[in-house]
């Protein structure tokens, strides 16, 4: 019997780690997606932002974030209390055996899984503010988001804080991770303004095509794959028949929602714009994924597909709408993660009878409001001090030269001229 408990502990831990590796892989997905959708002259900078933000997120979450989000004992439902540095100790074999199944996976495997989530939230931001924000201001914000803003609101739902008490239901984080990232991004974009030439003198949106669509496609596939870990790992266990079934269902639903989202966006774009817009299709897949993330378990696969389908349609509309509002989001991150994050949180009500309107709306309002407000404040401080935006000449010449001193494709693309 003890051997069985050990084996199950081992299996659940291993499952967690496999899922963590998949979610870590999403960092590469965001990087490729964003690098494909910006212009050549801003590519090194977006790459640098992405590798650096992942690293900053991992370090900050280790230094403070994880302890904030999952405190040994929170001060109250709002404030988790401060405790520095991730502890290295893990559950002893005896404690596990004595716990009667309560302790069923390694603490550090939990950290590993959680740390890649915070990186995901931050990755959402980088795409939306691309091609015009100062590198170091961005990284300063990354410190704040991953070390403080994200963990605190995470504590409210997943760490046992007051949102959990209000019955807010968000399986893998449509709201807690995705909408949170989008709210931080939106605050940044509002303060930052659109890229030069993005809106004509007549106010109409003008396209700025991405430099490398195969890269954007690869990024989407990576994200799709990584999402199996993101949602699949959020079951938090696999070692019983029930949890194994659940994980399988989460995989199937996640995949179905993504596929339906892609098809919906492709068809909507074809109808509205007359051509098969690949970038919309890619956004559609991600929209489907975000939409199903708040509840990938309860729906039947066909329901999951429908949820993704609506998400895929929504994202196209949202992107066009943001253009109308002159909110410039080069990669569609706010629409994918924000609009569809909200949709995902609300549609939980359809399939999960435990969820309540009150709980879901409270979650949206609290997370969206808190993250937006805090982000707005920090972005604002950065703007007032070191500045958020590069010099217009540097924006014209490209951020790569200014911030990084090198070109992404020195032999293919003419560097931004001056």
């Amino acid at each position: 019997m003890e051997a069985i408990i050990e084996t199950r502990y081992a299996l659940d831990t291993f499952y967690f780690l496999v899922c963590a590796a998949l979610v870590m892989w999403m960092a590469a997905g965001f990087t490729m997606l964003e690098a494909g959708l910006v212009r050549a002259k801003n590519t090194v900078e977006i790459l640098t932002k992405n590798v650096a933000l992942y690293s900053v997120a991992c370090l900050l979450y280790m230094i403070i974030g994880y302890n904030l989000m999952y405190p040994a004992e929170g001060i109250n439902g709002f404030w988790p209390g401060v405790d520095w540095l991730l502890s290295a100790t893990d559950h002893g074999t005896e404690a596990v055996l004595a716990s009667d199944g309560e302790i069923y996976y390694s603490r550090l495997s939990d950290f590993m899984f959680q740390v890649v989530f915070v990186a995901t939230a931050m990755s959402i931001v980088s795409g939306a503010v691309a091609e015009r924000m100062k590198l170091w201001s961005f990284l300063a914000f990354a410190v704040i988001l991953t070390g403080f803003i994200y963990p605190v609101q995470g504590y409210w739902s997943w760490g046992g804080g007051f949102l959990d008490g209000l019955g807010y239901s968000d399986y893998a984080g449509s709201g807690i991770v995705h909408m949170a990232g989008a709210a931080a991004a939106l605050a940044g974009v509002v303060l930052l303004g659109p890229r030069q030439g993005r809106f004509g003198p007549d106010g109409k949106a003008r396209a700025i095509p991405g430099a490398n669509l195969p890269l954007a496609t690869l990024g989407t596939f990576i994200l799709w794959m990584g999402w199996f870990g993101f949602n699949g790992g959020s079951e938090l266990a696999v070692s019983s028949v029930e949890s194994a079934n659940n994980v399988a269902r989460v995989f199937v639903n996640t995949n179905a929602a993504a596929a339906a989202g892609l098809v919906a966006a492709l068809l909507v774009a074809r109808t509205a714009f007359g051509k098969a817009d690949l970038t919309m299709a890619l956004n559609g897949a991600l929209a489907g994924l975000v939409s199903i993330t708040a509840e990938p378990l309860a729906p039947a696969p066909v329901q999951a597909a429908l949820i993704g389908l609506v998400g895929g349609g929504l994202v196209v509309g949202s992107i066009v709408l943001l253009d109308k509002l002159k909110i410039d989001d080069p990669v569609g991150a706010i629409s994918v993660h924000g609009t569809c994050g909200i949709w995902g949180v609300l549609i939980v009500l359809w399939t999960n009878s435990d969820a309540t309107w009150g709980g879901q709306l409270a979650g949206l309002a609290v997370i969206g409001g808190f993250v937006f407000a805090m982000s707005f404040a920090f972005w604002g401080i950065l703007r007032a001090t070191v500045g958020l935006r590069v010099h217009p000449d540097d924006e014209a010449a490209g951020l790569d030269r200014v911030d990084c001193g090198m070109e992404a494709y020195p032999e293919f693309a003419p560097a931004g001229g001056d």
Binding site: A396, R401, G405, M406, P414, A415, G416, G417, D418
Partner: protein, 112 residues
């Protein structure tokens, strides 16, 4: 007929094209070139080692014009391509013996 060759800064393409349209230029040919001149390039460090970017990206416009329109065209380019900063570029004017439109075989004035 004259061939006007203008070397301009890439981000000045749109204004130059509009200015040329206003003086009645309906055709031109664009080449991405790199220029070297008084405007100095820059030195970067890549992995700690230096490299010099001497040639800067420019755009070359070639415009065949009727001699009578030459001054207007020059004027249009000059007023639209200038940023007042070094590296704004040059205009070269040369004589063209013949111009032929391939599609119709029209020649000279008619072919421009």
């Amino acid at each position: 007929m004259k061939l006007v060759t203008a070397i301009i800064k890439p981000f000045k393409l749109d204004p130059v094209r509009s200015a040329l349209a206003e003086v009645g230029v309906t055709g031109m040919t664009l080449t991405e070139v790199r220029g070297f001149g008084r405007q100095k390039g820059h030195t970067e460090l890549y992995r700690g080692a230096e490299y010099h970017v001497d040639f800067l990206p420019k755009i070359k416009l070639e415009i065949a014009v009727d001699s009578g329109r030459l001054d207007d065209v020059i004027e249009a380019i000059q007023s639209s391509a200038g940023s007042g900063r070094i590296g704004d570029g040059k205009i070269f004017v040369a004589e063209l013996d013949q111009v032929i439109r391939i599609r119709t075989g029209e020649r000279d004035q008619d072919a421009i």
